[in-house]
């Protein structure tokens, strides 16, 4: 009996010892920080998602695979750009995988759901592309950041650009939230520059029957035109525009109209002027280093989406450094991220009160398969986000 008791005592002591040693080990080797990448890896936006992921991982690798002294563990989910699956996917990452940071996504509808989940669960979220105004507008939250742009920003910059040479313009866009926001931005920028928008033309998303609209555009005879369509629509629109003989008579402006589809657009896009927060081969030391290391790692030149992914990681790192990897100090982390001054490949990058990027907008000209920067149209552009109560 007493032998049995002593045996039990010994085993208890051993267990306690084992536990203690685990605890010591855990203290010496903190658990990795968990990052949920909710991005499309299939469908129309797959390439964009890949750019964001590559950019994010490139930054982490440049830091020796650690942020704030902690190793990084990725948990990836293909969001399929499908808003109906967004809630489930985001909850899976937050509740089951217990991620410290949620990163995503391209599609605005999916990103809005992610922002909702992030608010409800107080999870840190960085949006690396989706431009929906609400995310840093009416839905803004202390724990929600964006490393890309709001649809209003490139629209506004394009408006300023068009106003340099023209007094009247007509806009063409898909009739959906992103189109409306972009056109509103253009109108504000164009009017600020002394121009006047004569008419907004639009067609249902994602239609590509542009011919009737081009005809009307030609009869209104504005001095310039602004367009916001994406993906397949970009290629179609630019080609139709040239074929209708409008390219020389009514100069076309856009923000994303040339992004990623210049090769498919061919001659029709040559010389097209756009305004965006990045340009291919932008001349600054950070971007030159970024292009070199990105090309070395992935065998292809980076695009604006890779930059936005890279900066999402930089922004998170700013928070991680401030709390030395202790993600429980959320308020301190957020404070550091709000005050972050990032050296981005796109140029200096900071964040507005609503957590939207404050960044320079460049004039780019399409030459071959490159958007070449020729000028800066506006420095440190802030989205006014009047609906954000932060």
């Amino acid at each position: 009996m007493s032998r049995l008791l002593s045996l039990r005592a010994v085993s208890r002591a051993a267990a306690a010892l084992a536990l203690a040693s685990v605890a010591v080990a855990a203290q010496a080797q903190p658990a990795p920080v968990r990052i949920g990448l909710m991005l499309p890896s299939s469908g129309t936006f797959a390439d964009l998602g890949k750019g964001v992921t590559n950019g994010f991982k490139l930054y982490v690798n440049e830091q020796g695979g650690k942020l704030g002294g902690r190793a990084v563990e990725y948990l990836a989910v293909d969001d399929e750009s499908d808003p109906s699956k967004a809630n489930e996917n985001a909850n899976k990452l937050v509740k089951r995988d217990k991620v410290d940071l949620l990163v995503g996504t391209i599609h605005s509808g999916v990103a809005q759901t992610m922002a909702k989940v992030a608010r409800e669960t107080n999870t840190l979220l960085i949006v690396p592309n989706a431009g929906a105004g609400e995310i840093t507008g009416s839905m803004c939250a202390p724990n929600v950041f964006r490393s890309s742009f709001s649809n209003w920003q490139p629209g506004y910059a394009s408006g300023l650009l068009a106003a340099r040479k023209h007094k009247t313009a007509v806009t063409i866009s898909w009739k959906y939230a992103a189109g409306d926001e972009s056109v509103r931005g253009f109108r504000e920028g164009f009017e600020k520059g002394g121009g006047k928008v004569l008419k907004d033309l639009n067609l249902p998303f994602p239609g590509v029957e542009f011919q009737p609209l081009l005809t009307e555009l030609a009869t209104i005879k504005p001095e310039a035109a602004y367009v916001f369509v994406a993906g397949a629509g970009q290629v179609m629109f630019v080609k139709d525009y040239a074929a209708a003989g409008l390219k020389t008579s009514i100069p076309l402006y856009g923000a994303f109209i040339t992004e990623g589809t210049l090769a498919a657009q061919g001659d029709a896009a040559s010389g097209l002027q756009t305004a965006l927060h990045y340009a291919d081969g932008l001349k600054n030391p950070k971007n030159e280093a970024f292009i070199a290391s990105y090309t070395k790692a992935f065998g292809a030149a980076p695009d604006v989406f890779a930059v936005q992914g890279y900066d999402a990681a930089q922004l998170f790192d700013a928070g991680m450094r401030a709390v030395k990897g202790d993600t429980k100090k959320k308020a301190e982390m957020i404070k550091a991220m709000e005050n972050a001054k990032l050296d981005s490949p796109r140029g200096p990058l900071s964040f507005s009160k609503s957590h939207n990027p404050v960044q320079d907008y460049y004039v780019r000209v399409a030459r071959g398969t490159q958007n070449v920067m020729t000028d800066v149209i506006v420095k440190g552009l802030v989205d006014p986000s009047p609906d954000c109560k932060l």
Partner: protein
């Protein structure tokens, strides 16, 4: 109001209407003659567009791609009729809807597996890649004029085939009384197979012809399908002549709607449909 604007919009509407007719005529024949509600008809149109993209990439020649594509589509149509649709004639509409809806899903998945979910564009052949000046305002892409011409010839040919030839007479007879036609010693099975293959080939042809003028994208079949059903209903089920008129009517409503009432352009064609059905509940022409 600018005269050139009306002229160009008329060209746009005619071109769109004739293209729509190619899709809708097959739908109305299959519906009218065989009594099958074929929800997968739009998928044949999408298949055509993806065939045009793939075959043009392989052969480097759009016209050759279209010829091969039409033959492939017709063969596929005949096979589908033999394997699936021939079993549907005596089934009720609910079962037809279920099976053809399943076909849509199969076509979408196949497309996703075989060519992916990307959006493609097909190059206009070099010899058609120019624009014709129209008035003082703008130019009109030659390819769209070419499309209108080809569609017009086909539409006329189809009209003559159905309304003026013996085969056409038999097809029309089959639509009113299948048993009687069979008793007269006509092989109705093969007649049906022929009509079905023709319908599939026409839809695919429309998709192929439109590929360089539009984009090749997932989901394009569904958009066309809905408008095609509007055309079939407005024109009168089973009537080729009605389908032609209704296609043009719908195209004019849509094209001019986009310019004059842009905010309501999406519903313009449904307003036209409602108005016509109030006036003639069975459509413009009863088969």
């Amino acid at each position: 109001m600018d005269l050139a604007l009306i002229l160009i919009q008329t060209l746009n509407a005619v071109q769109y209407g004739l293209l729509l007719f190619l899709v809708a005529s097959g739908l109305t024949l299959i519906f009218g003659v065989m009594g099958v509600i074929n929800l997968a008809h739009g998928s044949f149109y999408m298949m055509g567009a993806y065939l045009a993209f793939t075959l043009t990439a392989l052969t480097g020649n759009l016209l050759l791609a279209i010829v091969i594509g039409v033959v492939l589509s017709a063969v596929l149509g005949a096979l589908l009729e033999w394997a699936l649709f021939s079993h549907l004639y005596r089934r009720n509409h609910l079962q037809q809807v279920l099976l053809t809806y399943g076909l849509i899903l199969i076509f979408e998945e196949l497309r996703s597996v075989l060519v992916g979910n990307e959006v493609y564009s097909v190059k206009v052949p070099d010899w058609l890649n120019f624009s014709v000046p129209l008035g003082s305002v703008m130019t009109y892409p030659a390819y769209r004029l070419f499309m209108s011409g080809v569609c017009l010839v086909l539409a006329l040919g189809l009209y003559l085939l159905i309304e003026r030839t013996l085969v056409g007479a038999r097809i029309r007879a089959g639509s009113s009384n299948r048993g009687m036609v069979q008793l007269l010693g006509i092989n109705i099975d093969w007649l049906y197979r022929l009509v079905f293959a023709l319908g599939v080939a026409l839809a695919a042809f429309a998709g192929m012809l439109n590929a360089p003028a539009s984009s090749v994208s997932p989901g394009m079949g569904t958009q066309v399908l809905i408008v095609s059903f509007v055309v079939v209903i407005v024109g009168g089920i089973g009537s080729v002549w009605g389908a032609l008129l209704a296609s043009l009517l719908v195209a004019f409503a849509d094209t001019f709607g986009k310019v004059f009432v842009p905010d309501y352009a999406g519903i313009a064609i449904y307003v036209v449909m409602a108005a016509i059905l109030l006036w003639r509940p069975e459509g413009l022409f009863k088969s």
